[in-house]
């Protein structure tokens, strides 16, 4: 893989980024409701409103607003949150680590459980185990992550009540974290009591996000494992006298992984998108939750910032996933 290939790939993401910026701008201007009126409440005089519209540049023509907006974005100025009165980008970036931790833990759960389910179902493919896992996958798949979130809240918050269903950590706990990556930081600094507490809070929202992806991984990997097991090189591995488990793990699995990696990459992006509703349900302080608050308050700069950061995140992830394919499969021609 060459530098010029990398640059070319990066260049291809530019139109996407521009498209997102335009769409966000247009959408926010066509939806009804006056953000300024929302902001200052019913006692404001029309003069107050007019003054604030000027402050936020909302009195100018739409093309004019767009040019200003684009110029500001390019200089890294995402505006000031109307409702929180702080730099919108700083607010979003402060919340991003919480969302990333949630998405990554969900991903780890999905990959680990999906892999295990696929291997178990394939190893015992002639017994009752395989149809049971198949049925479980169907259920996990047919329920979207926000419904899983509600079901988990119901199950653990109401019926069993042994896992926290709201927030990111125990508010009574001392927190003196340097970064916003609480979980990763506490793991790196060896503060396992903190990490455990954070994980307890993360478990249910992460599980809600992980379940559909886990089922997808299990399905896709079972399919490719079964296909691989029909190949001649598996017959040769059996002819060599290796046990069924060794044939499955060491001879079939390496060949069956590629489609799963592809699918997982694509669905990780959906998973990150799914954090918005799941964070809301679990009152988890990530950018999804922030987006919801911003929308309720018609906080245009904040909505813009969250959306654009989300979009950049998706584009960046897509880029990384594309790169990883070429790394994983040496036979994919780079061109």
């Amino acid at each position: 893989m060459t530098v010029s290939y990398l640059l070319r790939r990066l260049l291809f993401t530019l139109p996407t980024i521009l498209g997102v910026i335009v769409i966000v701008f247009v959408l926010l201007r066509v939806v009804p409701g006056d953000p300024i009126a929302m902001m200052i409440g019913s006692e404001a005089t029309p003069e107050d409103i007019q003054r604030l519209r000027e402050v936020y540049g909302l009195d100018k023509s739409i093309p004019h607003q767009f040019v200003v907006y684009l110029g500001n974005l390019l200089t890294g100025d995402f505006g000031t949150s109307i409702s929180l009165k702080q730099n919108a980008l700083t607010l979003v970036l402060g919340r991003l680590p919480a969302t990333l931790e949630l998405a990554i833990v969900a991903m780890v759960i999905a990959v680990a459980c999906g892999l295990a389910l696929a291997l178990v179902a394939t190893y015992w493919r002639k017994s009752w185990v395989s149809p049971v896992i198949d049925a479980f996958d169907s259920i996990a798949l047919s329920i979207p992550e926000f419904l899983w979130a509600l079901l988990l809240v119901l199950a653990f918050g109401v019926l069993f009540a042994n896992l926290p269903i709201s927030g990111r950590f125990d508010p009574a706990r001392q927190t003196d974290f340097v970064t916003q990556f609480y979980l990763f930081e506490s793991l790196l600094r060896g503060r396992f009591a903190d990490a455990l507490d954070l994980l307890r809070y993360l478990l249910l929202p992460a599980l809600a996000l992980a379940l559909p992806l886990m089922a997808i991984i299990s399905r896709v990997l079972s399919g490719s494992l079964r296909e691989a097991l029909g190949q001649d090189y598996i017959l040769l591995a059996r002819v060599k006298g290796f046990s069924a488990a060794r044939v499955l793990l060491r001879h079939a699995l390496p060949n069956a992984l590629l489609p799963t990696i592809t699918i997982t990459g694509v669905h990780f992006i959906f998973l990150v998108g799914g954090t918005v509703l799941v964070e809301l349900i679990f009152s988890y302080p990530g950018i999804g939750n922030m987006l919801f608050g911003a929308a309720m308050n018609r906080d245009l700069p904040l909505i813009q910032s969250v959306t654009i950061v989300f979009a950049l995140l998706f584009i960046g992830l897509n880029f990384l996933i594309d790169l990883s394919y070429t790394l994983v499969n040496p036979r994919v021609k780079v061109g």
Partner: protein
């Protein structure tokens, strides 16, 4: 020298679902001998080999008969016992060398794993032996080839590697399932010669599956003709070639199959003969149904 055959199949019946695939197959193969198992596509040749190795498809069932390896009854062994014979005492050369090697691993890995597994030797010694084996199958520059992936090798090279894997633990019995069918004509001759050389080196018994009588004439000592899962005739190659007893064998010999057009064989068996043989098979199945009732 003991008189026990290396492979002794007696009255083997095998079906897939309710369809009979092998009907009363019996054959004997001695140490140091090569037996050609000939017959056209779908006749059940591969099933015989897979039954010996215990790698049959899930749907296939052995319904009667016995398979003895060096006097030991294979069908009464546990799965694990049979598995541990594979690769070490009984091995197999697959038809399509390009798909027989695992695309995910280097040649070295695929040669070394079976030797370390069965011979309990270390990585370094196994690597040495792998080099020697590649030398023995006349691969130039074995050190380089060991580092390559299967897709970097030609079909002929792959088959040499597969052959060296099959012989690497010096098994007493090798099932060679159409080892040259997928190869170029020019390469076929070299591979045939090679199998003979390797067989002589280890003094193994080889069950050589093919649909090509020309190949049988070149490498085999004995021959068994299989059609519709039935052994039509069997015996020493010279005897059968000089005086084939069965119409089908005669038709096969007249068919003079060509290396480059294996399907030409199918067209040249007279339809009437084919029909008669199918009838025989059905009649045979009838008697068995009554015998069981």
């Amino acid at each position: 020298m003991s008189d026990t055959p290396t492979l002794d199949i007696d009255g083997l019946h095998l079906s897939i679902g309710t369809t009979p695939i092998l009907r009363d197959v019996s054959l004997q193969l001695r140490r140091g001998r090569i037996m050609g198992l000939v017959g056209e596509s779908g006749g059940g040749k591969t099933m015989v080999g897979k039954a010996v190795l215990d790698v049959l498809p899930d749907v296939a069932r052995i319904t009667a008969g016995s398979i003895k390896f060096e006097g030991r009854d294979l069908l009464s062994m546990t799965q694990r016992q049979r598995r541990l014979l594979r690769g070490k005492s009984i091995s197999m050369i697959l038809q399509n060398p390009m798909s027989a090697l695992n695309p995910a691993f280097r040649i070295e890995h695929q040669m070394v794993d079976v030797m370390r597994f069965h011979l309990g030797i270390g990585a370094r010694e196994a690597r040495e032996r792998a080099r020697d084996m590649l030398d023995a199958v006349q691969i130039r520059d074995p050190d380089r080839v060991l580092r390559l992936y299967p897709h970097e090798l030609s079909g002929g090279m792959c088959q040499r590697v597969v052959i060296s894997i099959a012989f690497s633990c010096e098994p007493q019995l090798i099932i060679a399932d159409e080892p040259t069918t997928a190869l170029d004509v020019t390469v076929q001759h070299q591979i045939l010669k090679l199998i003979k050389v390797m067989q002589a080196r280890t003094n193994s018994a080889v069950l050589f599956i093919t649909h090509d009588l020309g190949v049988v004439a070149k490498v085999c000592d004995t021959i068994a003709v299989l059609y519709a899962g039935m052994i039509l005739e069997a015996g020493p190659v010279e005897k059968i070639f000089a005086a084939p007893a069965h119409d089908y064998t005669r038709a096969l010999m007249n068919a003079a199959p060509r290396y480059d057009r294996p399907n030409a064989l199918l067209r040249s068996i007279p339809a009437a003969l084919r029909e008669k043989l199918q009838q025989d098979a059905r009649a045979y199945d009838q008697t068995r149904v009554f015998a069981h009732a």
